[in-house]
């Protein structure tokens, strides 16, 4: 018996189904990875946040009690405000300096390539090692920074950097800027180099000066990479922990606790794992809201 030939519609439907299966097959491993290492632990974290689980055992269901405690936890909100201040101050410094270094080193001459490498090198040092290094550089007795400032006549005597919250804050900002600025520089160089050189050449022909070309051509055309780098940098700053743990120990008087440091204190020093889990969920939601807003703004400006 002869089978009827399939219609074009049926053939298109079959082809679409085959493409769907192929798509799922390709993303399957990644989805499995995300499911096992992100979604399941996240689910466990949410579950733990609704218990009074301690590091020493136990774990009775308490509903939203931990979240109610967070509302009255002055220490957490103070830490969150400090983290926000740190993010707002540090991010423009990193973006501005990073873009400046990118403009300086974007051409592929040997000197510029060496400069790029030198600026990028601190990025590959671990954050813990970098923080320890700067902790001792800032030391009042043996730190090289104080010696330099005194020798240059900027200070009359060595300064105790971590004696006030403000000085401790700027000490950390300086150390992180040194460590991380190269990362932004590299991304911005990639963004600038991806711009069609004919556009800048045309601008030169039209008589546009260097800064005009930067302001009117390079910056607008590297907006996407700028916004992406800002987002990554801001998220990194909101999750700051190592540098404050090592350099300031949250002091003086707990004034330099960040949100993650506060979570660490509650979870592993006070043994309150359930409460720490609730704090983590709240922080995650805050960062998600911030990221969603930024991505929405990026999409809107790209659409203009």
């Amino acid at each position: 018996m002869k089978t009827m030939p399939s219609s074009p519609t049926v053939r298109r439907r079959r082809a679409r189904r085959a493409r769907n299966w192929q798509g799922w097959l390709f993303v399957g491993p990644a989805l499995l990875f995300v499911g096992v290492f992100v979604l399941i632990p996240l689910g466990q974290l949410v579950a733990m946040s609704m218990t009074d689980r301690s590091l020493l055992g136990g774990g009775k269901f308490v509903g939203l009690e931990n979240y109610e405690k967070i509302w009255n936890d002055v220490g957490f909100w103070r830490a969150l405000a400090f983290t926000a201040e740190y993010t707002i101050v540090l991010t423009p410094i990193l973006m501005g300096l990073g873009y400046a270094f990118a403009l300086l080193t974007v051409d592929n001459t040997p000197l510029r390539r060496i400069t790029r490498t030198i600026v990028f090198l601190p990025v590959v040092i671990g954050l813990g090692s970098s923080s320890l290094l700067w902790f001792w550089l800032f030391d009042e007795r043996v730190g090289l920074l104080n010696k330099l400032l005194v020798d240059l006549g900027i200070l009359s005597e060595p300064m105790v950097w971590f004696i006030t919250a403000q000085r401790a804050f700027w000490a950390v900002v300086i150390s992180i800027t040194w460590k991380v600025v190269g990362f932004g520089m590299v991304l911005f160089i990639a963004g600038i180099q991806s711009i069609n050189p004919e556009i800048t050449e045309a601008a030169v022909v039209d008589g546009a000066g260097y800064w005009k070309r930067v302001w009117r051509i390079l910056l607008p055309l590297s907006r996407r990479i700028l916004l992406l780098t800002t987002l990554i940098s801001a998220i990194g700053s909101m999750l700051a922990f190592d540098q404050f743990y090592i350099m300031t120990s949250g002091g003086p008087r707990g004034q330099t606790f960040t949100a993650v440091y506060w979570i660490y204190q509650n979870s592993f020093v006070s043994f309150k794992l359930g409460y720490g889990a609730a704090l983590s969920i709240v922080l995650t939601l805050i960062i998600l809201a911030f990221s969603a807003t930024q991505i929405a703004l990026t999409a809107r400006s790209a659409g203009k």
Partner: protein, 415 residues
């Protein structure tokens, strides 16, 4: 083959098989030790391994990971046979049921009767014993004899009270702007519970609450000592950098010869002899507000057997052995580490160094607080203990600081 050869061969095989089965029956124990206790623990473990068929394999755990690792290990059923950790965690671990009851074994051990009382107290929960002192450390007062001599003070006469520390510090600071009479690490909660709290305890105060209904920071000792420290700070007798020191420079300035007097631990003796062999320094007990009042903070590690250990009997025999004269003298004292039995302080190894004898004797006058959530109450970077010290000494509000510290400590103890 002759009969003689056969007999010789059989005898050789029998001897060889005995050695083989001995090795095959010998067990291997695992032991975790926190990083800061590794050197001291190694002296005992190495001695045990050199004299016993059953070997102990020592694993170092970073100090700030020990609690987490042990807690998760017990709950997962994956624990070492022995564990050596900071004794201040004993109450939390005993309450959580993490440790094996050693009451019968320790009470039957004649050496246990001579262990410093502080170690017995910290390892007791509801009348039962769960651990033994292992590698002790204790706080003492050190003074720079060279600076004392230059300042016109008798270098062989240490201050016997906190006000006398203050008076001597003034004379030492008069030697020069960069010479200071006294030092303490102003942002280090652990350093201060170790060296400042014994002055308060010696003056009659009780420090920490064991429960929400227990009192905290009682007596005049806390206020009197804080006021002395505040005055020394206001008078510039303490370097400015002390305010921000989180312990990284706990003894660095004393080693540089710029500090007249400070509290420290027994560990400093060998440190100073190694790093600054030309410095003349003395060691004495930490004093209270009046002459004759002395105390010390008894610290260091205890050894215990986690619940879930697979070699409990063997682990118990190690705990019994480490209290013996052999272990205490040939393991600890020989390596300049304090024995946990103060009666052994006068031994041939310490005879050449009377300062170590003094330190060992400090164990007998020392205290250790028996409280839950010690880390939260004291050691944490945001603890009520360090906040109280900083508010009292650097802000000058002694009464307010004590009141706030007391309330917060009781709130933590009530959790």
């Amino acid at each position: 083959m002759s009969t003689a050869s056969l007999r010789a061969g059989f005898a050789a095989a029998l001897i060889a098989s005995t050695a083989f089965t001995t090795a095959a029956w010998a067990d291997s124990l695992t032991m975790w030790v926190r990083a800061s206790g590794t050197n001291a623990a190694s002296t005992l473990v190495n001695l045990w391994n050199s004299t016993h068929a059953d070997k102990i394999e020592l694993t170092t755990i970073p100090d700030n990971q020990m609690v987490t690792k042990l807690a998760t290990g017990v709950q997962a059923g994956e624990v070492p046979d022995l564990v050596s950790f900071d004794l201040i965690y004993m109450p939390d671990f005993m309450k959580a049921g993490f440790l094996t009851d050693l009451t019968a074994d320790l009470k039957a051990n004649k050496d246990y009767a001579g262990v410093a009382k502080a170690y017995v107290d910290i390892a007791t929960y509801q009348g039962k014993l769960y651990g033994a002192g292992f590698t002790p450390d204790v706080s003492i007062l050190v003074w720079n004899k060279d600076l004392f001599k230059k300042a016109g003070l008798d270098p062989e006469k240490p201050p016997k009270s906190v006000p006398e520390i203050h008076e001597d510090a003034k004379k030492i600071h008069a030697l020069g702007a960069d010479i200071y009479g006294f030092y303490f690490s102003g942002s280090c909660p652990g350093c201060n519970i170790f060296t400042t709290s014994p002055m308060m305890v010696a003056s009659g105060s009780k420090m920490l609450p064991a429960s929400g209904s227990d009192d905290a920071l009682t007596g005049d000792g806390v206020k009197d000592v804080l006021e002395q420290f505040k005055e020394m700070w206001d008078e510039g007798l303490v370097p400015k950098s002390a305010q921000a020191d989180n312990g990284s420079n706990f003894v660095a300035l004393f080693k540089s010869g710029k500090i007249g007097i400070q509290g420290a631990g027994g560990f400093l003796i060998s440190d100073l002899k190694h790093d600054v062999p030309d410095m003349n320094f003395g060691v004495t007990f930490l004093p209270g507000m009046k002459e004759g009042q002395v105390s010390a903070f008894v610290g260091g590690d205890v050894v215990a057997i986690p619940v879930g250990s697979k070699h409990v009997a063997l682990a118990k025999s190690f705990v019994a052995w480490e209290l013996s004269d052999e272990a205490q003298l040939e393991g600890l004292a020989k390596n300049n580490i304090l024995p946990s039995r103060p009666a052994l302080a006068d031994n041939k190894y310490f005879a050449a160094e009377p300062r170590v004898v003094t330190t060992a004797k400090a164990l007998a006058v020392g205290y250790v607080p028996w409280v839950y959530h010690f880390a939260d109450m004291v050691n944490s970077d945001s603890s009520p203990w360090i906040n109280m010290l900083q508010r009292a000494i650097f802000d000058g509000d002694v009464d307010g600081a004590i009141k706030e510290g007391r309330e917060k400590m009781k709130a933590i103890a009530a959790e």
